[in-house]
């Protein structure tokens, strides 16, 4: 019985999922924008979850804040800037392409171009290679050794 009561408390305490029906905005266009923004914002108390996915109370507060800003007429960028001002850059799941983050963003494409260059050179070299040359002295010795076996 005590267990049951305890459980009821737990059930009350634990929200089942992220976006609750009460949070949803009446204007579907605004709601869609709010959802898209939520997916780009990190839940600060969770591990690697967006506020759109998170059950945490803080995530809910942030979701409501995003909606408040949108209802107040903010553009998506203004709403994000408003939140970054208060919670820091850490809140953005999409790291902005500024300062040192440029390295992060260009690393892949730069490596790709480099790899294309290197492999292109390799393929050209393979192509121009002449037919197999005569055996080297090492190989001759090895061949002789194998033939003796």
């Amino acid at each position: 019985m005590i267990l049951r009561v305890l459980l009821l408390c737990l059930l009350m305490a634990a929200p089942a999922f992220a976006v609750e029906p009460g949070e949803v905005l009446d204007d579907p266009a605004l709601e869609t924008r709010a959802r898209d923004l939520s997916k780009e914002l990190r839940c600060l108390v969770c591990r690697n979850e967006s506020i759109d996915e998170s059950n945490a109370g803080l995530a809910r507060d942030l979701r409501l804040l995003v909606r408040e800003r949108l209802v107040a007429g903010d553009t998506d960028e203004e709403a994000l800037a408003f939140i970054v001002d208060r919670f820091g850059e850490y809140v953005l799941l999409n790291p902005p392409v500024t300062g040192s983050n440029v390295i992060l963003w260009v690393a892949g494409p730069v490596l790709f171009l480099t790899a294309l260059g290197v492999s292109g050179a390799y393929i050209r070299r393979r192509r121009s290679d002449t037919a197999p040359t005569a055996l080297s002295s090492d190989e001759e010795a090895r061949l002789a050794e194998l033939m003796d076996d």
């Binding site: 089942a16 690697n48 999409n94 983050n101 992060l104 490596l111």
Partner: protein, 672 residues
């Protein structure tokens, strides 16, 4: 300590037996055997002492047998709930169903490391058993290197995370396994992943052994490929299981989160896929040798980095279960030692790997080089995104997050390129190809793929390009695989079936695996483009419509499971008045772990999943209900299963079994 010693005769009976000590002893003995297996064959191979080299095989078998004993002992402790073992107390409970008592063995850091060591030893034993065709020196070196990895991990296990430690005063019951882990999907997710991670150690051992010998030839490519293939198949299954679990368990139907732990398993998968393809070039054409060796080293390197990421907790993530700096440092040392050592050896020896094969700019070889470039760069993108938060904080004192938007934007382009190039590569002949001749039969494939994309465009109500593009890429791969099969079976249409059946299994493997990738691409893009979500408050008796389905909340009950309490709803789903499904989503609470979970109810279909979740009772009456209709969701995992099936088919190819004396035959003769 026995119960009587505590002077508590009223304590209930619990199991405590010598078997645990036996397991502990076997574990320590395995470390010594691994030490022998490391030193003697490596020294023996160097000095050409055949007696010392011969130690490798029996030692590998003994080490595996000892670890099997050890693992069985730990499993026994979990099965009988021996709470005098600390690990059992922390991770089990008498009320837990048997399946989860057993899966609890590896549902924690210590037990999963024991499983890791066991698999490492079993792979060594398999090399000993099935490596009859390997030259003695190479075999001894492979087993020696494999044992070196074993020594590192066994001492890590014994000295920092011993699973057999006892408690002086055993408690009456355990603390239960994390309820999220009490799930059939997740029970088998880690063993498959470990088979994959650890399987790559064998490719690594082959690479290091080849570097020590200073020789890589076609035969080496043939020997290393099945091990890589096996590891890749296991990784595919493991990743698919994890993603499927996330889909139905986390309560909103996401299947991939770009979480550091997921990335940790994805990076070895991508790199081993690259390795699989470059090893073919080594085997058939004796080119790309140094690169293939490097990939084999890096593939295991990413497994080690993955182990480090998951277990050190430096990159906090949803499902890391061991966050311990001391263990992290140890694992970093292991990673540093094996990667540093292997790469140093590589720097000295890679120059000696002379490539033999000559090929034109347009050829199968070039296509496989491009495959490798794309897969390697994609791996790098995942890697830098995963560690960037750490790098940025250390180097620039900047706290940033790198989440799905980054990975979606930077990883996807490479996969699109890969999918575009893939069918071109498969119909390309080795050595030299004429562009015109290769392209001609592909025209029909392009046409077919475009028709599918057009159909998708017409059918959809959204105006997004994602679905048609995904459908094009996916069907381009599937039809391309069909063309691959068609061109391999000659021109005589009546003889095609017979010829197809007689094709080498590796040809079938390639066709099947590539179409699996196509199926997955179709699944991901159509589901993401077309899914419908509905969040609302529903009262019992209410009916609402989601994407053409009428959903009726029939009732909500409290029920009791073996080790949880649950709120279960009954929802009736119908379409045009005909009942489609009755679904029972639940909200559970596991009292021992004091943790709630959502159990979504899913009606699986070939073309759509109906995915229902029940939430809280609302203050104004009624229940929060979330409904999703997810088109083509199952194609994602079906594609993964098809891919792994392709891998299995390839693994059973005759040339891997009958490769005896491979080095005696003239090298460089293509088997096709």
């Amino acid at each position: 300590m026995a119960v009587e010693d505590l002077g508590c005769p009223w304590l209930p009976y619990y199991h405590q037996s010598m078997i645990v000590e036996l397991g502990h002893f076997a574990l320590i003995l395995a470390l010594f055997v691994a030490g022998l297996q490391m030193v003697m064959p490596l020294v023996g191979a160097h000095k050409r002492w055949s007696g010392w080299m011969a130690v490798a095989e029996p030692a590998a078998l003994t080490q595996a047998a000892l670890l099997i004993v050890s693992f069985i002992a730990l499993t026994y402790a979990f099965v009988v709930s021996d709470f005098s073992v600390r690990l059992v107390t922390l991770n089990s409970h008498t009320l837990k169903p048997m399946l989860y008592k057993v899966s609890g063995v590896w549902g924690n850091h210590e037990g999963s490391m024991l499983l890791w060591c066991l698999i490492l030893a079993v792979f060594g034993a398999l090399v000993a058993l099935f490596g009859n065709n390997l030259p003695d020196g190479l075999k001894a070196r492979v087993l020696g290197v494999q044992a070196a990895i074993g020594v590192a991990f066994l001492s890590f296990l014994i000295f920092t995370s011993n699973p057999f430690l006892r408690l002086a005063v055993p408690p009456l019951n355990g603390r239960d396994l994390n309820p999220l882990l009490q799930d059939p999907g997740l029970a088998f997710h880690p063993p498959f992943l470990y088979l994959g991670y650890v399987g790559l150690s064998t490719s690594f051992s082959f690479a290091v052994a080849a570097l020590i010998e200073g020789r890589v030839d076609a035969a080496w490519g043939r020997w290393v490929r099945p091990w890589t293939l096996l590891a890749w198949v296991m990784l595919t299954i493991g990743i698919a299981l994890g993603s499927w679990w996330a889909y139905y368990e986390l309560g909103w139907g996401g299947f991939w989160f770009w979480d550091p732990v997921e990335n940790a398993s994805f990076m070895p998968w991508l790199i081993s896929a690259a390795l699989l393809h470059s090893a073919i070039v080594v085997e058939k054409r004796e080119a790309l040798k140094a690169w293939t060796i490097l990939l084999a080293i890096l593939a295991f390197g990413f497994s080690l980095i993955g182990a480090f990421i998951v277990r050190s907790g430096v990159l906090t993530s949803v499902h890391a279960f061991a966050n311990d700096p001391e263990r992290g440092v140890y694992l970093l040392a292991i990673t540093g030692f094996f990667m540093g050592g292997a790469l140093m050896l590589y720097a000295f020896r890679a120059g000696a790997m002379q490539a033999k094969g000559v090929f034109g700019t347009v050829s199968r070889e070039s296509a496989l080089v491009l495959n490798n470039v794309l897969l390697a760069v994609a791996t790098f993108v995942v890697f830098i995104g995963t560690i960037w938060p750490l790098l940025a904080e250390m180097a620039f004192d900047r706290k940033v997050s790198v989440g799905p938007p980054f990975f979606d934007a930077t990883f996807t382009p490479f996969m699109i390129l890969l999918a575009l190039v893939l069918p071109l590569g498969t119909v390309m002949p080795w050595k030299r190809a004429k562009v015109g001749r290769v392209m001609r039969p592909l025209r029909i494939v392009v046409l077919l793929a475009f028709s599918v994309a057009a159909l998708v465009w017409v059918v959809q109500t959204e105006r997004s390009l994602m679905a048609p593009m995904g459908a094009f890429l996916g069907s381009w791969l599937v039809f391309g695989a069909g063309l691959d099969l068609w061109t391999k079976t000659g021109t005589d249409v009546s003889a095609k079936l017979g010829r197809a059946l007689r094709l080498p299994r590796s040809d079938w493997g390639r066709v099947v695996a590539h179409s699996g990738l196509g199926v997955t691409i179709i699944g991901i893009s159509l589901m993401l483009a077309w899914e419908t979500e509905d969040i609302r408050v529903a009262h019992v008796g209410d009916t609402f419509t989601v994407a053409g389905y009428e959903i009726n909340l029939a009732r909500v009950d409290d029920i009791e499971g073996p080790n949880y309490f649950s709120t279960a709803a009954e929802l009736r789903v119908s379409k045009n008045g005909r009942e489609v499904a009755v679904l029972y989503p639940e909200k559970r609470v596991y009292p021992v772990a004091a943790m709630p979970t959502t159990e979504a109810a899913i009606d699986n279909g070939i073309f759509r999943d109906i995915y229902l979740v029940i939430g809280d009772e609302q203050p104004g009456g009624g229940w929060a209900v979330r409904s999703y209709v997810k088109p083509f969701a199952n194609w994602i995992w079906a594609g993964a299963i098809i891919m792994s099936l392709g891998g299995f088919l390839s693994l059973t190819d005759r040339r891997f079994r009958v490769a005896a004396g491979a080095r005696k035959r003239p090298v460089g003769v293509p088997a096709e």
